[in-house]
Every structure is written in C-alpha cells, then in structure tokens.
C-alpha cells in the first residue's frame, strides 16, 4: 500500500514537471504578456524596462531555471497582472469554485441516483422513458445556453432567484463560504444546477444500467427468495453493487467539474478559479497559469488516489498492490 502510494507520488512529480515545461514553452510561443498588459501609450524604452523587470528578456531556459529554483523554495512567483503571489490569488478564488463543484456533484447524486434507480426498476413505464429522454437533453445542451436560459426564466421572468454573483458569505476557518447563508445558497442554486446537469444525466444513466444489470443476478434472486423486504434488496444489495462505477465516474468528474467550471462561472459571474485562469490565459499571466495547472494536476492525482482507496472499501475483491 505505502510503496504503491509513494510510486504514485513520484509519478505525479514527473507529470507536474512535464506540465510546467509545456506551459513555459507554450506561453513563450503565443506571445509576450508585456505587449498585452502595457499601456498602448508607453514608449519603447518603457516597454523594454518592463520586460526586463519581469525577467522576460532572459533566455527561456534561464527563466525556467529561475522558476524551478523558486518553486523548490515554495515560491511559484507573482502574478504579472495582479502583483500578488500566484498561489494566494488561486487560494482566494478556490473556496468559491470548490463549494460550487461539490454542490454540483451532490446534486448529481441527489437527483441522479434516485431517478436512475426508478428508471432501472420500471424500465417500460412512461416516467422512466421521460427521464431517459430528459437525460439526453442534459448531455447535449450546451452549458452556457442552459445557464442563460435558467437566468432568463428564474431571475428575469419569475424573479425568484438572483441572476449572478456569489451573494453573502460567512467566514469558516478564515475562508468565506456562501453555503452558510440563505442569500449565498440562493445565489448558488442556479450555477450549481447548471454545472451538475451533465453529471446528473451521467449518474442517472449509470445507475439505470447498473440496476438493469444487477437485478437478474443470482444474489438478488437469492435475497428475494430468502424473504428480505424489497426495499432492503434494492437499497442495500443492489445499490451497493452499482455504486462502484458511479463512485469512479463521480470522482473523476469532481476533478473536471472543479477544473472546468469556467463556463458556468463566467455566465453566472461566479468569482471562482475558472474565471481567473481564463483571464490569465488571455493576458498570458504565466505564473498564475503554471500555479493553477500544477494544482489541477495534483488535484486529479489526489482524486484518483482517493477513488482507488474507495474501491477497496466498497469492494474487498480489489487488491491494490497486485493491481499496481
């Protein structure tokens, strides 16, 4: 187990290193942040001065060397745009994205699993067919369009929910969270729903398929023959068995929900990391791009690790050492 985790971590370091090289080269190829940030009225001498002050006049390998040296000392550099440490900028925005993504994943379980169970148990019923048809919409409608429609209906037409923004926040562990206030929850409902639509459909389909596959199996028949209550058969025996693929997928989806919440965040003006990274890419704010991607890579690795461990808990047949 331990060796397996250590091996995973060493792999992670190499992935992070490779990623930083790609970002450095990529940003260098695209252009020069100073051209974008500088005042159009600044003269050539001023431009040269700023390029030098950001260290962009050095050859790329040397810039990368400085970066590695500082990174080893725990400093990922300061944002060219905001003049704040890149990590602090990301940490400032992270709670907003985290709570949005976690809520979205919760939504996908709360809505997806029961609907999928229902559709799997009564596959020929009218409602089951309606649910399945609805899930196709959840897959195929583009997120930004759905987001705008939600705003138009619930904020503009009906006026039930606020249109955009994060709302009131409450401090917990020194971090502002909006799920702790009623106003914050009202602001969070639409973006979280928007972000979870795809996952709801995914979970729904996975649960349905799982149920359909599990029901004819011998252990279910045996449980029924033993005279267990139908609810116990479904909610304990069937549900437990269909959870493995759902946990796997949701684990991976949590990562991508966090990393790619950008569409929802920009439609709902949600001040999370997604908006920060897109703005940073637009102005080639390299320290922020690098720090953000490093964090995302680590996040994915951590989630994969957690999913693997959860496997063991859910299914004792899985033995990690042998698998690795």
């Amino acid at each position: 187990m331990i060796t397996w985790i250590v091996r995973r971590l060493i792999q992670a370091c190499f992935v992070v290193l490779a990623m930083t090289v790609i970002v450095f080269v990529g940003v260098h190829v695209i252009g020069n942040p100073v051209d974008i940030l500088i005042s159009p009225e600044a003269d050539q001498a001023e431009r040269a001065r700023i390029i030098a002050s950001m260290g962009l006049d050095q050859p790329l390998w040397r810039q990368y060397g400085y970066f590695l040296w500082d990174a080893l000392h725990g400093d990922l550099g300061r944002s060219f745009v905001f003049n704040e440490p890149a990590l602090r900028l990301i940490a400032q925005r992270m709670p907003a994205t985290l709570e949005l993504a976690v809520t979205a994943v919760l939504f996908s379980i709360i809505f997806g699993v029961p609907l999928g169970l229902y559709a799997g148990l009564r596959p020929d019923g009218f409602s089951a067919r309606a649910i399945m048809a609805g899930s196709i919409l959840g897959f195929s409608l583009p997120g930004f369009w759905v987001g705008l429609m939600l705003i138009m209906v619930f904020a503009v037409q009906l006026g039930w929910l606020p249109s955009t923004g994060r709302g009131q926040t409450e401090m917990l562990f020194g971090v502002p969270w909006s799920f702790l206030t009623w106003d914050g929850l009202r602001h969070m409902f639409m973006p979280a729903l928007n972000l979870s639509l795809f996952n709801i459909s995914l979970v729904l389909r996975l649960s349905r398929a799982g149920v359909r596959e599990t029901l004819p199996m011998d252990f279910v028949k045996f449980a029924r023959a033993k005279g267990l209550a139908p609810s116990r058969v479904i909610f304990v025996h069937v549900l437990k068995n269909i959870m493995i693929p759902i946990v796997t997928v949701l684990g991976l989806e949590l990562g991508s929900t966090i990393a790619f919440a950008v569409v929802t965040e920009s439609v709902f003006a949600w001040p999370g990391m997604g908006k920060l990274i897109i703005d940073s890419i637009n102005v080639l704010d390299r320290p922020v791009i690098v720090a953000y991607l490093m964090m995302i890579v680590l996040l994915f690795i951590a989630i994969n690790l957690a999913v693997d461990i959860l496997y063991m808990v859910l299914d004792p047949r899985v033995r990690l050492e042998r698998k690795a």
Binding site: I30, G31, N32, P33, V34, D35, I36, L37, I38, S39, P40, E41, A42, D43, Q44, A45, E46, R47, I50, S53, M54, R78, F80, V81, F82, N83, E84, L89, Q92, R93, L148, I151, M152, A155, V156, G159, P162, S163, T164, G165, R166, S266, V267, F268, A269, P271, K275, L276, D279, I281, N282, V283, L284
Partner: protein, 526 residues
C-alpha cells in the same frame, strides 16, 4: 394586555428597521462593469477599468468632464509661468482619513508613481515630463519640465493623488486590502473581493457635490449576456458596454433606459508601410509574389479605403453603435479637422485607381485581426473582405485571439490588420505622436506605429506642435498635421465606437466619452 405591550417595542423596532432598509435600498446602487479591476492601487496599472473604479476613491489635479474637456478637480486653477514652469493652485480638501490635502501630497504622489513595484503598465509615462517640484505654500505647487511641454496638464489628468501620510513606497497589496486605499474622492473604500466586487460608501466630508448614492457596489460581470440579464433581473442598476447584439431588443424594452455617446476610440485598418519589397500577405491575383509592396502606392491605399461602405458596417455589423469616421478624434476633440470627412463609398473609382496603379486584375490580400478585443472585431474584417471582393481583390480573413495577434503584429508579420485606438487624452497629439510619427525608440515617438508609416512633413509638424505652448496655435498645427497625414491614407479609418450604458428605468446616466462608469453620474430621472 400585557403580551401586546411587550410586543410593541419589537413591532416599532421592526418597523423602523423596515423603513431603514427601504431607505438604504433607495440609496444604494449596483454597477455591473465589464472587465476585472486588477488593483485598487491607482498607480499600478494603466487600465481603463482600474481608472473607472479609482475615480470614485481618488481624485486627480485636473480631470475630464463627460465630454472629455479638462476641468479642475483638486487643482483650483493652473497656468504656465514660463516655458518650463507650471503653477497649480490647490483647493482645500480632506482625505478619507481626515488629513488635509496639501501640495506635499502632490509632490509625494509624483515621486511615488515611477516607483511602484512590478507595475506591468506604469503611470510614469504621464509623470516623466516633470523634472522637479517646488512647494511655494501648502496650496501652491510649481512643476518644472526639461523643455517646453504643452501637454503637462493633459498628462496629469491621469494621475490620482494619494496622501503623503502613507509613508515611503506604499505597497500595492495594502491598497487591495483597503489599508492604503485613501483618497479625497466622493466614495470611501469598504471592501474588495478580487474578480467579484468592490463595495464603497459615500464620503461625507467630500469637498464637492455629494453624490446621490450612499452605498455603491461595483460588480464585475464580464459575460455580455449575463450583464444584460443582471440589469433585466434588477440585480444591477446600471451596466456598461451594452453588447450591440442586445441593442435592438433593449431599445424597445420599457424597463430600461439607454444612454450613448460617440467615443474617442476609432477602429481602423493598419497598412504595412515597412516592406519596400513584397509584403507578406499581399500577392498578385494568382498568388504570385510581387516585386514591390503595393500598399506603398497611395492609389492602392485610396482604392482600398473607397471600396468600403462604412455606413453599411455601422448599420449592419455594429447595429448603430458606431459612426463612420475619417480621423482618430471625435467631433469636438482638440485638433479635430472639420473638413476631414469619412471616405465616401465609391467602388467604381476604386477599381479605376487600382488599374491606374498597375493592378487591373486585382490582388490577393489576407486581413488579420483580433477576435476578442474590440466590439465585433472579427465581423468587421469579414465585412471589409466582402467589400474588397467586389473591386476584384480576393480577400481572406484571419481572426485570432488578441494575445497571439498582438505578438505577431509586433513582429510586423501582417500586411493589413484591424486595430483600434482610444484617444485617452482627447487631443490630437496623442494619436499623432503614438501612431503616425515615424517609429523612433530614442525619442519615444511612433510607439504604436505598427505599420511603420513615415512622413517627414507630418513629423515636422508634430515637433513644432510639441513646442507650442499656446493652445490656439497648437491646435492649428495639430489639425494641419492630422490632415496632411490622413490625406496620405496611412491607415484606413472605419468608425468611432459609441459608448453605451443601460440603466434601470427611473435612472439616467450621463454618458462619458472616456468609457468610465461612475456612480456620481447616475441620477434618478426627474
């Protein structure tokens, strides 16, 4: 009876709270701005959204009114003592921390501006003309320049004054946290959530007219559709940069009032003047390399300009959110040339000129442009390409993100490309010096001359104007320089954008030439 009595104070209290809330709501305003503020430090980054926000908290010596004319702010008056000395008389004002505003704060600010650490776009370009400061009395300051410099007051209209009590080298981060966010402006800093919002309160000791709104929330909603939705849902009282696509429906919407004004930002096509041999993206009609750059021929430039129907672009592509132009300045700007009209649409004459220049079978041209920078930028070059097709020029369009575009434009890789230029100072020497003067790093001229246009006659007129302290004489020189240059078609001017705001019904906004969205300009309709 007793329970009722017990409840009474509670009832009264809740009624009072209810009234207070109603009151507070009536006096608070939510502004939805379109682009993120990168810092609260007013000297950190020369960026329009930052300046728009800073104008609530801080003030300049000289500022510009909604029309772009210079008016006194913290300076009561200013005059030129001699060619190298300017005198500014200062008004009585108070900073948000209660300390009085004096000449020392001006000297301190001018000293601080070039020393801001890690500034990606320093305000020192507006203070570098000042070689020395001299405090005559607490409310009079003399500024010295190395030579005659007629634009000093114009430049200082960009510099926000901060109090000298902040001590040596105040850190940008301390402005963001609010600790150093102390100015003399009509609003006080309350809080800043990066990427989301800035909260402000009315400053009761403000020297000037007290603004109407007690509490202002300055929110950042970059997505165009979301901004419009926020207005319609009532979450924002005013939004800026109304997207042209929404204009037709908003004009009919009774819940919304629009205010618009022609801005000082013109959109134009740069032509490559730098290559004397073949230019990279212009070839013969069959794709063959030409021996010389056709864009160096005035007749070709005129033909390309005449072939474009500017009114059609303004009506169809821009949904009326622009006006055709033939120069950088809006009518009324200092140095605007009244008889320099937008080039008339004349495809027949364009064909003739092209034939006279030796290209009767036309040319092949690729137009480059950004697709995320100016209003409808990619659509504009598509429209231009179609007009050029009609005079026999096979035109392709290549639009790309600004970050890639600007790097390639800087390397002179393009032949014809779309750009915009906002004349922030509102006077003509700004585009002349930055855009049309010969590229000269040593003298800091032609800094944005991306086509490397060079015309000695224009250069001479610019030099002369830069030494002319008298406003009237200088304006004549500026007009002459602009006319000389534009008759030579260094760039193909297309249109001036309109700045458009939308407010909730019952509110009006005084539209501003400089794109700034100010709570001070939002009033309740009478």
């Amino acid at each position: 009876m007793r329970p009722t009595f017990r409840a009474l104070p509670g009832l009264v209290l809740s009624f009072v709270i209810f009234l207070a809330l109603g009151q507070a709501q009536g006096q608070s305003l939510s502004i939805a701005s379109s682009a993120p503020v990168t810092s609260i430090d007013p000297h950190y980054h020369t960026l329009a959204p930052n300046e728009s926000l800073s104008a609530h908290l801080f003030e300049r010596l000289v500022t510009r009114d909604a029309e772009g004319r210079m008016i006194p702010a913290l300076a009561l008056s200013w005059r030129i003592r001699d060619d190298r000395t300017w005198e500014f008389k200062l008004r009585e004002a108070k900073f948000h921390d209660g300390s009085p505003f004096t000449a020392e704060d001006v000297a301190y600010t001018l000293n601080r501006v070039p020393r801001v650490k890690n500034s990606p776009a320093s305000y020192s370009i507006y203070t570098k003309a000042v070689t020395g400061t001299e405090i005559e009395d607490p409310h009079t300051i003399l500024l010295h320049t190395a030579g005659p410099y007629p634009l000093l007051a114009t430049d200082l209209a960009n510099i926000f004054i901060i109090p000298h009590t902040l001590g040596p080298d105040p850190a940008t981060e301390d402005f963001n946290s609010g600790k150093n966010a102390i100015g003399t402006g009509p609003y006080r800093f309350v809080s800043y959530t990066p990427g989301d919002r800035i909260e402000m309160e009315r400053f009761d000791d403000y020297w000037g007219e007290k603004p109407h709104w007690k509490h202002v929330t300055y929110r950042i909603i970059s997505n165009d559709a979301a901004r419009t939705a926020a207005l319609l849902a009532g979450d924002a009282g005013i939004i800026e940069f109304v997207p042209p696509a929404d204009l037709p429906s908003l004009r009919k919407d009774s819940r919304v009032t629009l205010s618009e004004v022609v801005s000082n930002r013109s959109i134009f096509l740069w032509l490559d003047h730098s290559h004397t041999g073949p230019t990279p993206f212009v070839t013969g009609p069959n794709g063959e390399t030409l021996d010389k750059n056709p864009l160096n021929d005035l007749r070709v430039r005129q033909a390309l300009s005449m072939a474009i129907n500017r009114q059609a672009i303004v009506d169809r592509v821009m949904e009326g959110a622009a006006v055709p132009t033939g120069q950088y300045l809006r009518p009324g700007g200092f140095g605007y040339v009244p008889d320099l009209k937008p080039t008339a649409y004349d495809p027949a004459r364009a064909r003739t000129l092209l034939a006279e220049a030796g290209y009767p079978k036309g040319l092949r041209i690729t137009i480059h442009g950004p697709n995320d920078r100016y209003v409808n930028d990619a659509k504009i070059i598509q429209a231009v390409a179609q007009f050029w097709q009609r005079i026999g020029i096979q035109t392709t369009v290549d639009a790309m993100p600004w970050n890639t575009f600007v790097a390639r434009a800087g390397k002179l890789e393009f032949s014809v490309f779309l750009l915009g230029w906002g004349v922030s100072s509102g006077e003509g020497l700004n585009p002349l010096r930055a855009q049309l003067a010969t590229w000269n790093p040593a003298r800091g001229l032609g800094t944005a001359n991306r086509g490397r246009y060079s015309n000695p006659a224009v250069d001479a007129l610019i030099d002369q104007a830069m030494e002319t302290m008298d406003d009237g004489a200088r304006e004549k020189l500026v007009q002459k320089a602009m006319k000389t240059a534009m008759d030579d078609v260094p760039v193909i001017e297309l249109h001036l954008q309109k700045n458009i705001w939308a407010t909730r019904k019952g509110l009006v906004y005084q539209p501003r030439v400089d794109e700034a969205t100010l709570a001070m300009g939002v009033h309740e309709a009478k």
